[in-house]
Amino acid sequence: MALAVVIVILVVGSVIFHFASPWWFTDIAADWGSVDFVVDLTFWISGFVFITINLFLAYCIYKFRQKDGHKAVYEPENTKLEVSLSVVTSIGVVLMLAPGLFVWANFVSPPEDAHVVEIIGQQWQWSYRYPGADGQLGSADVKHISEINPWGVNPEDPAGQDDIVIDGPEFHLPVDLPVKTLLRSKDVLHNYTVAQFRVKMDLVPGMVTFLWFTPTKIGTYDILCEELCGIAHFMMRGKVVVEEQSDFDAWLAQQPTFAQTQSAAAPDLNAGRQLYAGCASCHGEQGEGNQALNAPKLAGLQSWYVQRQLKHFRVGARGVNDGDSAGAMMRPMAIALADDNAVRNVSAYVASLSDVPAASTIADANVRNGARIYSRNCAACHLDDASGTWYTDAPALAGMSDWYFVKQITNFRNRIRGEHSADDYGEQMVHMATAMADLEEIEDVAAYINSLR
């Protein structure tokens, strides 16, 4: 009896929950409305079945509860009933399946005129490639992957020279134009998902997969990885900007071709040294750092890391938060650099400074605990010896200023650094930094990193 009432309450409650729920599909931004139609159809058919069977169940529990003098009816089978239930169920299943298969037939056959974009996944980043003027993507293979060729484009393939390559988490699409995205992975399984586009597909190393859609709504959408790809899986984010064709063309024209990225002139170290004179007053002639001035050691950092951080300071992705007074001092210095080329030159010069490990400022920390935390959470990007790698955009940590490390991890934890939308992958550190529960554990990790130089 009580159970009958509870089942009715659960059914009614489910219906109320459905109508009260603010959690439902995002506004669709691609022309896969047909997918939503099949979802809705299935939702209402199965919702009707859910309500009907459960109310009938509750009725049976109530009506046929044990009563004195009441006896169950002996009724082993009822062929007519069983057959008609089978038929009705089969019809319901066909009603849901058939439209689904029609939509799927559409999905498996991308239009001939769809333009092509390649989406490349790696632990825990995205990059992209467009066919250049020849309308054709050059061949690619993981064996070609290097620091200057993170896409793995075959340098020998003439078709690949004019490919437009993007080494960053954001790419653009023109609105209302069908696009076939080719998906490729450099390391493990990933999954390319934009919730508003409704379709998703895995990226599988060793093969190229695809999906297609027509973006219908101008806007910027998050790309999420939805196939478990390691410890930073939940933070593997990208962005797709859907815009008018003219805006798209203008954006694409600014992006480098593969050939341009391979033939870029070497940075000018002399120019870099002159520019560095402005840095040396705080960071030291040899980039050795000065804790009293909140200036971390720079020697030993990779040029791409210095370059990226200078850009972040320049665009206001760092050094604008109230809690970051040292960053606020750095920002005007970075802005004072004339252009991207100056940034590149000074970064290259910093990377060329001879690296003498910084003195340790942390006493009595639990190095073993630091080692445990580091190997479980940090080593996947910063490597076991904390030397960092271009592959994951992870800077060197070993031999750098430990007080600065503690300060920055604290900033990440307090969301002072890393959450700005222009700080690519900065949010990864916001969340990975939570692996250190408190200041003590941050110092444990810093002490362990000190032990690695």
């Binding site: 929950f17 089978e77 939805e226």
Partner: protein, 594 residues
């Protein structure tokens, strides 16, 4: 059927000589069953605790600092693997299969008692290896319970060294243990049925366990070979599943392997595995419903054929787990069709359970609460399967919380409710004591309502597009703050449900000590296991003489009978037999006024 039952050749029993061979290295199927069940439940508690840790992280990411991303993914992995394989499979087949098959078919023991004992000890070994992986350097694998390569074997995944090796070795031992037990169950059902017990007179419990075991014997080898090949990839550097990949900027020395091949092998095992768990649950719940409704199971023959059909179909639906895996998308047409076909026999089973209650005389005993709770959750979980099975709908919902909610409803909550129904139902026979009614009912209400409070909202997170296997949501353009609030509520419900399981354990231990002495057949059940001369049944089960069976297991409320059930071993001449008539479709049409 002209078989010479083993029952007719008085079986030489292995008689225990000492305390050690009676209770530890026992060859008695009942002791082995309890050993299996105890081990499975113990390791299941570990998995339960892991799930609560994950829920704390998801519900309160800012203040809960106990687990880091590595520990979260290790918990995800171990929770899934333990629950599916080491708890559910072992408890349904090693536990209930072992206890009930010989009793329900009227045998003195399993056909191969020594092999049966060996099966348990190898299973225990596999559990110990699995648990040992928590203590190796790097901890257990964090690749997800699906163990997908190549990440399972790469630096960004926790436990990529010894953790995964221990996991694979443990799985290999589990498969060996299962095969030893499984051959026993199948042979015992086919060869050891007592006189008069035809296949179409078997309780559905035996049918469910029997077909599930056959599935397992075909499905587990796929896992075994996949596990061995993966072990070679990890330890010897072969490239079965490992393509050329980059690890932290360095090319690894692999080339040409296929990650998708592993997925096919895994799900060729993994999908039948769903039914290896579900079919025994279907069988057990059928018997509980029928007994407490005082009514025969409705449409027995249909139920048997549905079990067989579902079992057969379960081998040709596996790639519905792989719609977005990058396999040839044309497979989607085939697998969506087969998957939705399986909905038909499954729906018929649901109808027949409800129709078993129709015109019954329902006794709301504790097992009945859990059994009806199962019908509710199974309807819910079955219907959401129609979403994910339909390839197009799987596109937006795959890899979201909708999937998590779906399989927990259909493969977590539903079978677990059946397990509780079955444990409470057979507890009086197994222990000779009655459980504490009040504690058992409280256990039911919290578990049933609480589980729904956990999983109903989770479907809606999935509709929204919240991905599964995320340590933290971070900032996105489409997940509102309210999703975090919902997560916190789900966590609170999960903590309550988790804590409520203590009631179950307290009840079991309290009742073993203080419970009222149980009647040999407290529910008035017609099936054979309740007709043993001793409660709990002694070694050899049947005293001096094996039983003979004269009717099916569902003679409840037979018109003209002395009481509202007729035990299967009651001869035709002392009670009416309508058994054979249930094969006549026109029988009793007058009463079938629905």
């Amino acid at each position: 059927m002209a078989y010479v039952p083993l029952a007719d050749q008085e079986q030489e029993l292995h008689h225990p000589q000492s305390w050690l061979t009676t209770y530890v290295f026992s060859q008695d199927h009942k002791i082995i069953a309890i050993q299996y069940a105890g081990t499975a439940i113990a390791v299941g508690v570990v998995a339960l605790v892991l799930s609560l840790l994950m829920r704390m992280q998801l519900g309160f990411p800012e203040s809960f600092t106990l687990i880091d991303p590595s520990a979260y993914y290790q918990s995800v992995t171990m929770h899934g693997m333990i629950m599916v394989i080491y708890l559910l499979t072992a408890l349904f087949l090693g536990g209930f299969g072992n206890y009930l098959i010989p009793l329900m078919v009227g045998a003195r023991d399993m056909v191969f008692p020594f092999l049966n004992m060996l099966s348990y000890w190898v299973y225990l070994l596999s559990v110990l290896i699995l648990l040992a992986s928590f203590f190796v350097p790097g901890g257990p694998t964090g690749a997800g319970w699906t163990l997908y390569p190549p990440q399972v074997n790469m630096a960004g995944t926790p436990g990529n060294g010894l953790g995964i090796v221990f996991m694979l070795i443990s799985l290999v031992f589990f498969v060996v243990a299962f095969t030893m037990g499984g051959l026993n169950y199948v042979t015992t059902v086919l060869q050891s049925r007592c006189r008069g017990l035809t296949m179409m007179r078997l309780p559905l419990t035996v049918w469910g366990i029997f077909v599930a075991t056959v599935l397992g014997l075909f499905a587990f080898p796929a896992l075994l070979v996949a596990g061995i090949m993966m072990t070679f990839d990890v330890l010897l550097g072969t490239s079965f599943f490992m393509p050329a990949v980059i690890e932290a900027g360095q090319a690894l020395d692999y080339n040409g392997g296929s990650p998708i091949l592993f997925q096919h092998l895994f799900w060729f095992f993994g999908h039948p595995e769903v039914y290896i768990v579900a079919l025994p649950a279907f069988g057990l719940v059928s018997d509980v419903l029928s007994t407490h409704a005082r009514k025969n199971i409705f449409g027995y023959r249909m139920m048997v054929w549905a079990i067989i059909a579902i079992g057969g179909l379960s081998f040709i639906v596996w790639a519905h787990h792989m719609y977005v895996s990058g396999m040839n998308p044309y497979f989607g047409f085939f697998f969506a069709t087969t998957t939705l076909i399986i909905a038909v026999p499954t729906a018929l089973k649901v109808y027949n359970w409800v129709l078993t209650l129709w015109e019954g005389d329902i006794r709301m005993n504790v097992p009945m609460y859990f059994a009806i709770g199962f019908i509710f959750t199974f309807i819910h979980g079955g219907l959401t399967g129609l979403f994910l099975g339909n390839v197009v709908i799987d596109m937006p919902l795959s890899d979201t919380y909708f999937v998590v909610a779906h399989f927990h409803m259909v493969m977590g909550v539903s079978p677990v409710l059946v397990l509780f129904a079955a444990i409470y139902h057979w507890f009086p026979k197994i222990s000779g004591k009655m459980y504490h009614e009040g504690m058992a009912k409280a256990h039911f209400w919290i578990t049933f309502i609480g589980a729904y409070a956990i999983y109903l909202p989770m479907h809606y997170l999935g509709f929204l597009g919240v991905p599964r296997r995320y340590y933290a949501l971070g900032t996105t353009d489409f997940i509102p703050e309210s999703a975090q609030a919902l997560n916190a509520n789900i966590t609170i419900a999960a903590l309550i449900v988790g804590a409520a399981q203590l009631l179950f354990f307290i009840n079991i231990f309290w009742s073993l000590k203080n419970g009222k002495k149980a009647d040999p057949n407290p529910w008035g059940s017609a099936s054979l296991e309740w007709q043993t001369p001793d409660t709990p049944p002694k070694h050899g089960n049947w005293g001096d003489e094996l039983p003979s069976v004269y009717r099916w297991a569902y003679d409840y409320s037979v018109p003209g009978a002395h009481q509202d059930f007729i035990p299967q071993n009651t001869p035709e001449d002392s009670e009416p037999t309508v058994d054979e008539q249930h094969f006549d479709p026109d029988h009793d049409q007058s009463k079938a006024d629905i």
